[in-house]
Symmetry: C2
Amino acid sequence: MAKLDPALDMAFAALSDPTRRRILERLARGPATVSELHAVHDMSLPSFTAHLKKLESAGLITSKKEGRVRSCALSPEAFAPVQDWLAEQRALWQGRLDRFDAYVTQISEERKP
Amino acid sequence: MAKLDPALDMAFAALSDPTRRRILERLARGPATVSELHAVHDMSLPSFTAHLKKLESAGLITSKKEGRVRSCALSPEAFAPVQDWLAEQRALWQGRLDRFDAYVTQISEERKP
């Protein structure tokens, strides 16, 4: 069975859309209201809100309502599982490349006259 | 408009499934035949092949057929746009935290008797 990690599934799925990545890029610079975020997207508010909900379900952003204004903030720590998984893969294939390099070096040393 | 980057969309979408991540984890250790990859997954071959196709469409793996045997290999360079995008986000929010730290330090310096 595949190792189940729904948090990782949801984070990667949330990151697979250009509108959602653009929202995250904006929030990386600081919190913003839903209106401010929506203003630069050529999209209906309900469609835009669905993107925000997907980011919030994945834990990548949080939102809170004060009076009639809802504002959003990035949750940088939610990127950690994604970055950890990618770093593990890099370590695996880098290890394989290093062993290959060592092998090539050994072969060429052995062939020296 | 959101910055269009279909390669990034497809890579993140390909990574959002635990079966596909497990295939990548296996291929990070070295190439394998489709039969070898499929053997450890409790899933029909057509369903499994669909996952391989999604990884190949996203550019994360390559496959080649020799005789009747198809084998797959990881394309580590295809992870670069994903890692670059995440690194950019980290730089943005880290910059914001650093500026906040500097501000707090300045305030506390000013309050010293």
